[in-house]
């Protein structure tokens, strides 16, 4: 049976993208798989009694070494902020390429805590900072130093000891450009070094809390229970900075979504599913319910989504147990069609993620195809004609071409870069100043504008000639020819309309990271948790790949 790929015009809508969940394709899971047989080491741990100082952790294989350099600092209560406007953090980190020398560590000590105002070198790969969840950290220290384990319920509600507030890579602030390292096989999957940094930071938080508790009461202190450590991840506060990324990297976005779609197509196309695979699917699905029941948020928007998901998943599990026969042909196709007919996007995409669990042979080869050589697609094919371009627009942007941008509500917002933090922001075009400095992220509006212009151009006009008369449309002409090659490269929605929920864009990216427990704090930023339940570095050599659900 030839199962078609899902229609980009459905899948690339923001409400659908904002319903994506982590899966076997997610970057933090593929990172663990790739690095499971690397040698992990804590090379330096030089902290004072309060937990301030320097630590170095590394992963090594053959001659390759990646070292996380950590600097933990004293921070006054009034200085702690997760917002991007902060200038100090409880700890700052960089992933160094190789083994850092004493001089490297001294240099980094001067630069890394400054974050955006510091300068890194080509020897550093990623940069980050994090703040303590003070309530949880102090609670853990207090209990451990008194010889008892902390309150698991409190820990489970928060889920982490520290949360990062930014993770930078790819040449920012002097970090190594991607071209320097792109041929290393171990980092073929996207964001692999960012994942490594976060994973090692998680271990640092456990070591630091144990260290502070021990210094506080050396005779009585105990270490944080390994199982509790495993149940904790690293929090992350994410704002709008992530949103333009998925617009600015169309071929990369395509490769992420395309991998997911190919997985689904192949799984739906399996004629006979053996009982081992169907049992694993059902087992993961049932166990995963605890990730929903422990999903805490104050956001009414998210609460409603969680409630709907929980209810529909329970109905779906009943359906699977009582009314569905995995011995039928093409069972996953039947399941998928049933989902589409009966459930909301949140539930459909949740189960799609779950379907991948038994199928390592389908998922693994696709992981290495999730990066993109974006430069290859930058040049515009100027020997093509306006007629070609018109066909592309009509075929690939059919819903977008229906939007009336003369209506105020359809162009209510504009994206801009803030001068003080050089970070993307979204504002009301009609109430705020600055729309004349709008970023080129209103793709739907500009595509519509392009279409209006080409409708009155000669069909046989070469694109080179068209561009010489329309400099202002060049960025969308480039996009249209990229979209022709990459069906899932464009969000099929209006990113400046009244109805936009920017966190849908963040959630898309974070689901591919492997984040759990999206906790919107507004429509423009959210908190998540990463690596919650993941094996500790010492356990990597022999770990259960379905740890997310255990």
């Amino acid at each position: 049976m030839d199962i078609p790929l899902r229609n980009p015009n459905t899948i690339m809508k923001l409400s659908r993208l904002g319903s994506f969940h982590q899966s076997k394709l997610s970057f933090l899971r593929s990172f663990l798989k790739e690095f499971k047989d690397w040698e992990y080491k804590r090379d330096l741990f030089d902290l004072n009694e309060h937990g301030f100082g320097t630590a170095v952790y590394s992963f090594k294989k053959n001659n390759r070494v990646y070292s996380l350099v950590c600097f933990a600092n004293k921070l006054n209560e009034d200085e702690r902020s997760d917002r991007v406007i902060a200038t100090k953090w409880d700890a700052a980190f960089t992933l160094h390429d190789g083994v850092p020398t004493k001089e490297d560590i001294e240099r980094l000590l001067n630069e890394v805590p400054k974050q955006e105002f510091g300068r890194l070198s080509f020897k550093e790969l990623t940069l980050s900072r994090a703040n303590k969840s003070v309530r949880v950290f102090n609670h853990v220290v207090e209990n451990l130093s008194n010889g008892i384990q902390p309150d698991r319920e409190l820990l489970s509600k928060v889920g982490y000891l520290y949360r990062t507030t930014a993770v930078y890579g790819s040449g920012k602030f002097g970090l190594a450009d991607r071209f320097r390292i792109k041929n290393r096989e171990e980092i073929y999957g996207p964001f692999r070094l960012e994942m490594m940094l976060v994973y090692l930071v998680r271990q640092f938080t456990f070591d630091q809390v144990n260290h502070v508790a021990h210094k506080k009461n050396p005779k009585k202190a105990v270490k944080l229970d390994i199982e509790i450590c495993k149940s904790l991840g690293i929090g992350n506060s994410t704002g709008l900075g992530m949103a333009p990324f998925i617009v600015n990297h169309p071929s990369l976005l395509n490769n992420w979504i395309y991998a997911r779609e190919i997985c689904l197509k192949k799984i739906r196309g399996i004629k006979k599913v053996n009982s081992k695979d169907s049992d694993l699917f059902k087992d993961c699905l049932k166990k995963s319910i605890k990730n929903i029941t422990s999903w805490n948020t104050d956001s009414e928007y998210q609460k409603k989504k969680i409630k709907g998901l929980f209810s529909e998943l329970n109905q779906f599990i009943l359906y699977l147990d009582n009314d569905f026969d995995f011995n039928e042909e093409f069972p996953f196709n039947k399941i998928y069609l049933y989902l589409e007919n009966n459930y909301d996007e949140e539930c459909i995409e949740y189960v799609v993620s779950m379907m991948m669990e038994p199928y390592d042979d389908i998922v693994s080869p696709l992981i290495k195809k999730m990066s993109s050589e974006e430069e290859k697609y930058f040049n515009i094919p100027t020997d093509r004609t306006v007629s070609d371009l018109k066909t592309i627009l009509e075929e690939k942007y059919s819903d977008i071409l229906k939007i009336d941008f003369l209506k105020k509500e359809n162009q209510l917002n504009f994206w801009f870069i803030s001068k003080n933090k050089e970070e993307p922001r979204l504002a009301n075009r009609f109430d705020e100043v600055g729309s004349e400095l709008e970023q080129p992220l209103a793709i739907a509006r500009d595509i519509k504008k392009l279409y209006e212009v080409i409708k009155s151009s000669k069909n046989n006009l070469k694109i080179s000639e068209f561009l010489s008369q329309n400099f202002d449309l060049r960025h969308v002409v480039r996009r249209a020819f990229i979209v022709e090659k990459f069906p899932y490269s464009e969000i099929q929605d209006n990113t400046i309309g009244k109805e936009i929920i920017p966190i849908d864009m963040l959630r898309l990216k974070l689901s591919f990271f492997g984040a759990l427990k999206f906790d919107p704090r507004s429509d423009k930023w959210l908190r998540i948790c990463m690596f919650q339940g993941a094996p500790l570095p010492e356990q990597l050599k022999n770990y259960n790949e379905h740890w997310v659900y255990n």
Binding site: G174, D177, R178, N379, I463, S464, S468
Partner: protein, 203 residues
């Protein structure tokens, strides 16, 4: 040291601020990144160009011909470059293309380098007394090493090179003969057993 990613981003944003469209600014970002990667003074020239751009009274060259001349004003290197890149498909059969008075010609170079990749031919570019070979956008060879600002080129001549060897047939044969010393002379036994399919090779 600034990373190429930073160079790309800042060049793109500053170009937008200098009045170019986003699409053109994207091209400039990529170009300055290329120049800096090839050790050519991209940032230096772009910065100086934008400081003086308002006073330069630039002419926009949007249709490239065999001879592109302006006597009264100067050509904008960005628009001339974009046009050259976009129209290279029409220009590849013209062997020699000439430009007079291109302002900040270093900024014009990466467009020519990228055009070399598009048509799969090397391009020789002479900028007054300076010479450049664009090697399919993999590298730019040049005969000057000063990190300088060039405000104007009186004449730029571009020569699209045919895909020809840089060596003679005799030189090739001499080297090939030497390479044969790595081969094994086949005896009957090796002829029979060394290959795979034997007599059915051409079935």
């Amino acid at each position: 040291m600034r990373s190429l990613s930073e160079i790309d981003t800042v060049s793109k944003r500053s170009s937008r601020a200098a009045g170019y469209s986003w699409g053109i600014s994207e091209e400039i970002g990529k170009n300055i990144r290329l120049l800096e990667m090839f050790s050519l003074p991209g940032i230096k020239n772009l910065n100086d160009f934008y400081k003086k751009k308002k006073d330069l009274k630039l002419e926009e060259l949007t249709l490239i011909k065999e001879k592109n001349e302006t006597s009264k004003s100067k050509f904008c290197p960005i628009i001339a470059g974009v046009s050259f890149l976009d129209q290279i498909g029409n220009l590849k059969n013209i062997n020699k293309i000439k430009f007079t008075n291109i302002a900040y010609p270093i900024l014009f170079l990466p467009f020519v380098s990228r055009a070399s990749e598009v048509i799969g031919k090397r391009i020789h570019l002479k900028l007054d007394d300076k010479e450049f070979i664009m090697n399919f956008n993999n590298s730019i060879s040049y005969n000057f090493f000063k990190s300088e600002i060039i405000e104007l080129s009186e004449v730029i001549s571009i020569n699209i090179l045919e895909n020809k060897d840089t060596f003679s047939e005799i030189e090739w044969k001499e080297l090939y003969k030497l390479s044969e010393d790595t081969f094994v002379e086949e005896n009957e036994s090796l002829k029979q057993g060394g290959a795979g399919a034997g007599l059915t090779d051409n079935d």
